[in-house]
């Protein structure tokens, strides 16, 4: 019996909890991608670097707060800085839309042109981030590191396996839940949210019924700024901030959005967790869990790791290909053009 409990604890400690946190971060990222796709109808390659920019802005504000001696008790200071970071990122995105994207929207340019434009934006954002904060690792998490440490858990329960819950994990899950709840409340209950959904479903009909497209687009960018910055800050708190890692998040985020069905917010959340758990499950070395779960005679001698962690991109890619081959509109019905 204790063996089963130990196996469960080890599984939660190394797979379920980190997977859930990573899934929440991906889901927030994928929500941003999917919203832009639904309203502006292009795949935004600059999204990873938008997340990096938002995180950078938040880090700078955090440093400012820390230097004047403000902290958030056992919570990381970055959470107080987050709204300011969102505002700065919102300004940047609105400015980008005004100076760059609007021109192509007015021209009714093909989606692929907008994708290439977003590539240029990606370069510029990436340049800005490198310019201001550099390319190194930045660790900006402060406050309490653990809610429960492995040792406390062992003493509490008397099990051999410890369950460590890092405070960033808990913060990630709570913040992501709040963000998603706010987003769905906004999309389903408010007038602006409803006009956004109408615009996404049928642009011409929405325009005929008097919806102001510029307002819809502006609100979309603001929401995207909030989602991207939150996702970026949570990821940065959980791991650390490095401009290049954020660019690489683009692949799992897109995979999540496509798996869920591009343009479908619910799908983006589901997709985020599907991708995150597959990555963690496939790159986790199962030896420890199996040692507890299986009778001694069946115990594995190797690590039982299906793929080395360096191949985590391969996992999101493989899922992406499977979905593309068998269900191109995604698990939840998304748009397909």
């Amino acid at each position: 019996m204790t063996d089963i409990l130990n196996a469960l604890v080890a599984l939660s400690n190394f797979v379920l909890i980190p997977g859930a946190a990573y899934g929440a971060q991906l889901a927030l990222g994928a929500l941003g991608v999917t919203l832009i796709y639904g309203i502006l109808r292009f795949s935004n390659f600059a999204h990873g670097d938008t997340m990096a920019f938002g995180t950078m802005a938040t880090i700078l504000v955090t440093w400012g707060l820390q230097s004047v001696g403000i902290s958030f008790g056992f919570l990381p200071t970055a959470l107080i800085a987050l709204p300011v970071g969102i505002a700065i990122t919102g300004l940047l995105l609105m400015g980008t839309d005004r100076t760059i994207y609007r021109f192509y929207r007015k021209q009714k340019a093909a989606p692929v042109v907008l994708v290439i434009v977003s590539m240029g934006v990606m370069f510029v954002y990436n340049g800005i981030v490198r310019f201001i904060i550099g390319v190194g690792d930045v660790n900006f998490a402060d406050g309490a590191r653990f809610v429960i440490t492995a040792r406390e858990f062992k003493e509490m329960t008397g099990l051999d396996e410890g369950l460590a819950i890092r405070s960033t994990t808990l913060i990630t899950l709570v913040t992501a839940a709040i963000a998603v709840a706010l987003l769905f409340w906004f999309l389903n209950r408010t007038r602006t949210g409803k006009s956004m959904r109408a615009f996404s479903d049928n642009e011409d009909l929405a325009l005929l019924s008097g919806i102001n497209p510029e307002k819809v687009v502006a609100v979309t960018w603001l929401i995207v700024a909030a989602l991207a910055t939150t996702a970026g800050v949570l990821y940065g708190l959980d791991k650390s901030f490095k401009a290049f890692t954020y660019f690489q998040l683009l692949l799992p985020i897109f995979a999540a959005a496509i798996v869920g069905g591009l343009g479908n917010p619910l799908g983006a959340i589901a997709g985020g967790f599907v991708i995150a758990f597959s990555e963690v499950l496939i790159t986790y070395a199962w030896k420890k869990v199996l040692e507890y779960a299986l009778p001694e005679s069946l115990e594995p001698s190797s690590l039982v790791q299906l793929l080395s962690t360096d191949y985590k991109f391969a996992v999101s890619f493989a899922i992406l290909i499977i979905v593309l081959l068998f269900k191109p509109t995604g698990l939840f019905k998304g748009q397909s053009v």
Partner: protein
């Protein structure tokens, strides 16, 4: 034909000559050589985007596969490693391939939905574990052979020039797999799929030590041109260098670069001629017809997806050739140095700035953007020094700005791309 393109090419040549006069011929030739390679990559992307409107953001992966070809073809084999586990490894790879083929065949059978899915699943999962069981011991045995120097199977020991077409073939194979899965769907899906395959190729190069030593890098790839040191030792060359008024050391470095430039220019010329012929042929017209209106083209009986697959493979192969050439020029394969911003997105800037759909434009873009990429850093540093010249020497902002000049490149490239897209979307040398 207008004078625009020739004039722009002359201007580009003058830029390189000016670089040679101001900053030395060694740098000018270095820029020229990478410019030639960039021009080939740019031609490859232009085939896909300019001819067919396919959005490939996995250029880095195809370039890296070309680099892998240089290692697999040119380096001498490591007999101990082959004895330790070479055949077992080949057997494991064959087993993996057989499982995949069997899975595809099972999928193609038009019988029963659920039964087929279960068989497929069992086949893939069972096959994966069998594959790993066969592969892992072989890999361990190979990587244990003198890991600090070899620890991999080595190559075939053939002349390095053979690796250029082989690099093209490897890239074409990868492109076929991607194209089969992602073509025929919406255009963004191909983009995401190619983005993924590029990351996977790099992950394989970094982690599969038995293949190309992973991050331990493969150095000393044989050259198609003589070594500087041999030139300096030869009597005839020293006499000739004296005739040019150069000391043998400088003359030998320059001469080696000139030889490389000759080889690369020959390849570029062949590919450019082929691309021009293709563009003017009925096949090229069909491609452009498909690009401009897929619905109309398929109504005329053209198989859009098959043609897309064709041109996607061709363009990727060209990128693979360029990748093999680049690794040959570097003389080493360093998987850590492959960055998507440098190898995928920069090539895209080249194509867009040069003029998508026009082969001459793509070539010009390759040279120009490469020249800028190299030059932005010294220019940025110079500009920063100018801006900060009024500040105190220990001012933190001054230090930060001078350090940040190194990151000017990405921003400059982004701004150039955005400006060209906005104000001259057809590029420097537009398609007619």
């Amino acid at each position: 034909m207008s004078l625009r393109a020739p004039l722009l090419f002359v201007a580009m040549a003058l830029l390189i000559v000016a670089t040679g006069l101001v900053q030395g011929w060694n740098l000018a030739l270095t820029i020229l050589n990478m410019g030639l390679i960039s021009a080939i990559m740019s031609l490859g992307v232009n085939l896909q985007w300019g001819f067919a409107g396919l959005f490939n953001v996995g250029v880095m992966g195809f370039v890296a596969l070309g680099g892998l070809a240089a290692v697999l073809v040119a380096l001498p084999p490591v007999p101990d490693a082959w004895n330790a586990g070479g055949l077992r490894l080949l057997g494991a790879l064959a087993l993996g391939a057989a499982v995949l083929v069997a899975a595809v065949m099972a999928w193609k059978r038009k019988v029963g939905g659920r039964a087929r899915a279960l068989v497929l699943l069992a086949l893939l999962i069972g096959g994966f574990f069998l594959f790993r069981a066969a592969l892992d011991p072989a890999v361990q045995a190979i990587e244990a052979v003198n890991p600090s120097l070899t620890g991999y199977l080595g190559g075939l020991g053939l002349p390095v020039l053979v690796s250029w077409p082989v690099g093209g073939l490897l890239a074409a194979g990868a492109a076929w797999i991607i194209g089969k899965a992602a073509l025929g769907l919406r255009s963004d899906y191909l983009a995401i799929a190619t983005l993924g395959i590029a990351e996977i190729v790099i992950a394989v190069l970094k982690n599969e030590d038995w293949l190309s030593r992973g991050v331990k890098n493969v150095i000393g790839i044989p050259r198609p041109v003589p070594y500087e040191i041999d030139l300096q030792r030869s009597e005839g060359f020293a006499a000739q260098a004296a005739g040019w008024g150069l000391d043998p050391v400088t003359a030998s470095t320059l001469w080696v670069k000139v030889l490389y430039a000759g080889l690369f220019a020959a390849v570029l010329a062949v590919i450019l001629v082929l691309a021009q012929l293709a563009l003017a042929s009925p096949w090229g017209r069909m491609m452009r017809a498909i690009r401009d209106n897929e619905v109309a083209a398929s109504a005329m009986g053209k198989n859009v997806t098959a043609r897309h697959l064709q041109v996607f493979i061709l363009g990727s192969a060209v990128c693979g050739i360029a990748g093999a050439m680049m690794t040959t020029l570097d003389g080493q394969l360093t998987p850590g140095s492959y960055q998507p911003l440098r190898f995928t997105f920069l090539v895209w800037v080249m194509v867009i700035v040069g003029g998508s759909g026009n082969n001459y434009g793509a070539v010009l873009g390759g040279f120009l953007i490469w020249w800028l990429w190299v030059m932005v850093e010294p220019l940025g540093l110079w500009a920063m020094e100018l801006i900060t010249s009024g500040m105190a020497a220990d001012n933190w902002l001054r230090g930060h700005l001078t350090d940040a000049a190194a990151h000017m490149r990405l921003m400059t490239m982004g701004i150039i791309l955005l400006l060209v897209l906005r104000f001259s979307p057809r590029g420097l040398v537009p398609e007619r």
